[in-house]
Every structure is written in structure tokens, then in C-alpha cells.
Amino acid sequence: MSFFCNSYPIVDKKALGEGIYSYTLKCPEVAENANIGQFVQIKAEGYMLRRPISICSVDKGNGTMRLVFEVRGKGTDKISELNKGDLMDVIAPLGNGFTVPAKKDGRVIVVGGGIGTPPLLDIAKLYGDKCTAILGFRSFDKIILDKDYAKTGANVIVCTDDGSTGVHGTVAQPLADELAKGDVAAVYACGPTPMLKAVVAAAKQAGVYSEVSLEQRMGCGVGACVVCACTVIRDGEEKVVRVCKDGPVFSGEEVVL
């Protein structure tokens, strides 16, 4: 595993919705080394801290990497001013990704909540019709990447909190239904903490292995400053680990949410 710190050309930029952008960078060395679920630290000109953003998708053949992020504050707003042809300064790829393919045979379920949907896309690509993607959004107008997921051949279930489209409500019921069908090797999730808690609990109950991708405020992003702490239980003992280097993906069995 190795990472790079470089400026890479933006070969594509798309707005996916209100304040949500998709960028594709030409970065062969990063693409070559990246695993599903890893992230990058993007420099926002004029700000001290880089912004951690998950890798949405990698095309090793073309040497490209796709990033999808929502403008939340000043730094992401600054980054979103970058256009096709500009350079994006990133440290990448960082952290540990998802354990894919899963250790067991069978199909997999990915559960994405809102802006947590991007990092799971390549799992759907890997598994195709052996993947069920349960994607939760607040409302119809917040939906992103549903078509990208559909293109992978995965069975896509879209949920909205307000019922404006798809399943009315959270991802919980569709997840329970899918788990009940059996033959699930693993559940992978990314999204808000309450959702992750529900996913881990449901997977545990069904006796299925799960992995979740966490968020925490970061400094270095590479493991040096220990600001990005989270707690896991290993060998019966609570252990404080780093989201950036020991994660951002943790197994549902060990993570304390």
C-alpha cells in the first residue's frame, strides 16, 4: 500500500444535484494503487486542512479516479470552483478499504445513506447482479448515483425519508427483507451514524459479517497526528484507533458507534 501527494488534471466534472459534484481525475499511479473504500485528502486553496473525500470509483485501465462530494462548508465550496482542465491537489489513496470480495461466497448488500452512497459503487461493480444496493435519501431531489448503480447490474432499492420516490422510509425495512432472503456473504455500509448503527445491528442479528465506513474530523489523514480517533473492541478490550489509517472502514463486530 502506498500513497502519493500530487496535483492531477480534472478530466471530467459534473453536477449531480444541488451542490453535489462528481470529479474525475487522471491519476494513473493512484488508480493503480487504490482499493475500494479508500479516501483522498483534497487541498482547498486558502484553507489549512485538506478535506477527506472517499474514492467513488476507479478505472485502472484508464488510470482515472472519480470523487463525488457535497458542498457542506467553505472548503468543499472552494474545491467545487475547480473545473475540467484544472489540477486537483490530493493525497491519495489513503486508509484501508472494504474487504472485497467478501471472505465467504454468496451475494452482498451495500447500504448507502445520502452522500454515503459514492464509496460503495465499485462493490456493486464487482458483484453485479450478486449485489443488492439499498440507497437511502432524504427526498426525491437528493437522489444521486442511482443510475450508476443500476448500470452495474446490481439490484437497486431506493428509499426516501419523505416517500417522494421508491420505498417510503429508511433503509431498515428493505435491509431486513434482503437479509431474510439468506445467502448474504457481507453487508457494506456508509452514511450517517444512526444508519450505520441500524445496519450493524441488523447484520449481527442475521449472523452476517458487516463493514462500515466512518467519518471523523482529520488533520494529517495519514496516521501521524491521532486527531481522528474512534474506538474499537479488539480481544475484548477497548482500543482507540485512527479513522484515517486504521479505517475508515471497520468491521461491524469491532466498531463502537
Binding site: 500513497f3 489549512m48 495519514v222 496516521g223
Partner: protein, 306 residues
């Protein structure tokens, strides 16, 4: 370029191939940036603050962004001195760079125990952190009074023959008094500044961004304060001063050395640009060549005050 300028420095009898040292807490134990460049490219590394027993640190969030800086409240999370000695130090020793152990404690006996353990190792220097603002007990409380700073320094001085650098907190009324007090107790050097106590609030939730409510400010925002304090301290003591606080560029580092620093440390700037220390060294060489100065040490303390 007619000559290759010499950017190496000697501080407390230790030779640094360049004056740039990774600041404690920003660079871990030197293992996290080696994908980009070897640790031996740095003059030295001050390791993460180490205590007698392992510490888990504060509840996150532990970092907040500020204009030109950051606040942190790590709370001295570290694996404890035994793991430092048995695991990290042997690995660090294989790199060609000066290795500084940064130590902290709640009570004087902790400092003594850690210093005694380190005295038996081949670590190059010991930096005494008497100034961490992020732990309730100890740390800063020692650093804010002359008596406190003097008593820790005295105790550690007795416990080790290694060069002892005392790291000073800027959260005091008169930093030169503290510097003089630790010099009198046998400190070989002082380093400054540690972080300035600060706070940020999320106005929508009305919650401080840091779970610890308050934390230490670092980065370019503190640079002018650091230059001023280094200048004052360098004029007040005879021992070498190691300057830090907001250094991001070669110009910053040169300014800090002109203020009186014999070497510099860099922390926060590395989060933004991991190559910053390397660029500082390159920039220093360029500056010396332009100015036809042979050695970087020739600029130390050369500010000409009005």
C-alpha cells in the same frame, strides 16, 4: 551557484543535517510519510508526546479549522514510554536523523520515571513538554509558573545526561522569566512555542467544535506571536532556542532563525503540504546562495532591531 551553502546546524552538541525538525504531535513516530520521502530528509524529529503509561486521549472531535490555523485537543494520546523504547525507537534509529523524545507527565515522578528510562536508550535528546494545553492535570500547569517549570526541569536534569530541551507554553504573562528559570536549572535548550489556548463554536448547534471545548491553536495564525516570543527569549537566555509556531515556508523559517532560533520545528503546515519541510530546506539553500551566505547558522539572531 558558485558554492553549495551549508544548511546543517549543531544544537546542544548534536549535528542536524538541516535545521528543520518535525514538531511533536504532527509527525507521529516518523512512520507515516515515508511513502513520500525518507525521514532522513529531515534534520530531526520530535516524536509524539510520550507519557509513562499509555494514554487514550480526549473524545473527538479533536480538531477544528481556524483562519490560517487549527485548534487541536488530542490530549496526549500515546502508546506509553515502554512501547516507544521497545518498538518505535529501534525503527527510528535506523533512519539517519536526530531523534528527540518528547515527554509529558501529570506529576514530577512521571517525568523522572520517563526520563530515567530514556536515559538508558540511544535517543539523541529529550524535549520536556511542560506546556500541553490539552490535558486537565499536568502539562501546562508546570509551564505557567517559574517555580513549576524550574522544578520539573531540575528533576529531569538529575534523571538524565541527555541534552534536555524544555518546551515552553505561550500561555503565560512573561515567557522570558520561565525561560530563564529553566536555564538556571540546567536546561540545555528551550523550544517554543507550544499551542495557544483557543476555542471555536458551531453557531447552529451552539456546541464547541472540539469535544474538549477548548484546544491549542497552531499554524500560520500564530507565527508572528512565535517570532516575537523567540526573539524575546533568545535575548534573555544563553542556551540555544528552537523556534516553532506557524512555520510554513522557507521565508518563515529564515525569519524565525533571524529572530534567534538555532533550529526550527514544523507541525501544522505539514498537514496542508506534506512536502513543506523539504521545500523549506530547498528555499533556505536558495536564499543563502542568493545572499552569498555560507552557513545557515550565520543568520541566527541577526535581526537588527530598531
Amino acid at each position: 551557484m558558485s558554492f553549495k551553502p551549508d544548511i546543517s546546524v549543531d544544537v546542544c552538541g548534536k549535528h542536524f543535517k538541516n535545521p528543520v525538525i518535525a514538531a511533536s504531535g504532527a509527525y507521529g513516530f516518523g512512520e507515516d510519510y515515508t511513502d513520500l520521502y525518507p525521514l532522513s530528509d529531515l534534520g530531526g524529529i520530535s516524536c509524539k508526546g510520550t507519557t509513562l503509561n499509555k494514554k487514550d486521549g480526549n473524545i473527538p472531535p479533536r480538531i477544528a479549522e481556524t483562519p490560517s490555523g487549527i485548534l487541536n485537543s488530542v490530549g496526549l494520546q500515546n502508546p506509553g514510554v515502554d512501547k516507544f523504547i521497545n518498538y518505535y525507537l529501534p525503527r527510528l534509529r535506523k533512519q539517519d536523523t536526530v531523534v528527540i523524545a518528547n515527554i509529558a507527565g501529570a506529576v514530577i515522578d512521571d517525568y523522572i520515571a520517563v526520563a530515567e528510562k530514556l536515559d538508558a536508550t540511544d535517543v539523541d535528546m529529550i524535549e520536556l513538554n511542560i506546556s500541553c494545553p490539552n490535558v486537565k492535570q499536568g502539562g501546562a500547569t508546570w509551564g505557567v509558573t517559574c517555580e513549576g517549570a524550574a522544578s520539573v526541569t531540575r528533576a529531569v536534569r538529575k534523571a538524565t545526561k541527555k541534552p534536555v530541551i524544555v518546551k515552553l507554553t505561550p500561555n503565560v504573562t512573561n515567557i522570558t522569566e520561565i525561560a530563564k528559570a529553566v536555564e538556571a536549572e540546567g536546561a540545555d535548550s528551550v523550544s517554543l512555542i507550544n499551542t495557544l489556548l483557543g476555542m471555536r463554536i458551531d453557531i447552529r448547534t451552539r456546541r464547541p467544535i472540539l469535544h474538549n471545548n477548548v484546544g491549542g491553536l497552531s499554524g500560520p495564525a500564530v507565527f508572528p506571536v512565535a517570532v516575537r516570543m523567540v526573539w524575546q527569549v533568545a535575548n534573555a537566555v544563553k542556551i540555544p532556542v528552537i523556534g516553532m509556531g506557524g512555520i510554513a515556508t522557507a521565508e518563515d523559517a529564515i525569519e524565525m532563525m533571524m529572530a534567534g532560533a538555532s533550529a526550527v520545528q514544523m507541525g501544522t503546515a505539514i498537514f496542508n503540504d506534506p512536502y513543506a519541510p523539504i521545500k523549506v530546506c530547498e528555499g533556505m539553500e536558495k536564499f543563502l546562495a542568493e545572499q552569498k551566505i555560507e552557513k545557515i547558522s550565520d543568520i541566527v539572531g541577526t535581526v537588527k532591531p530598531w
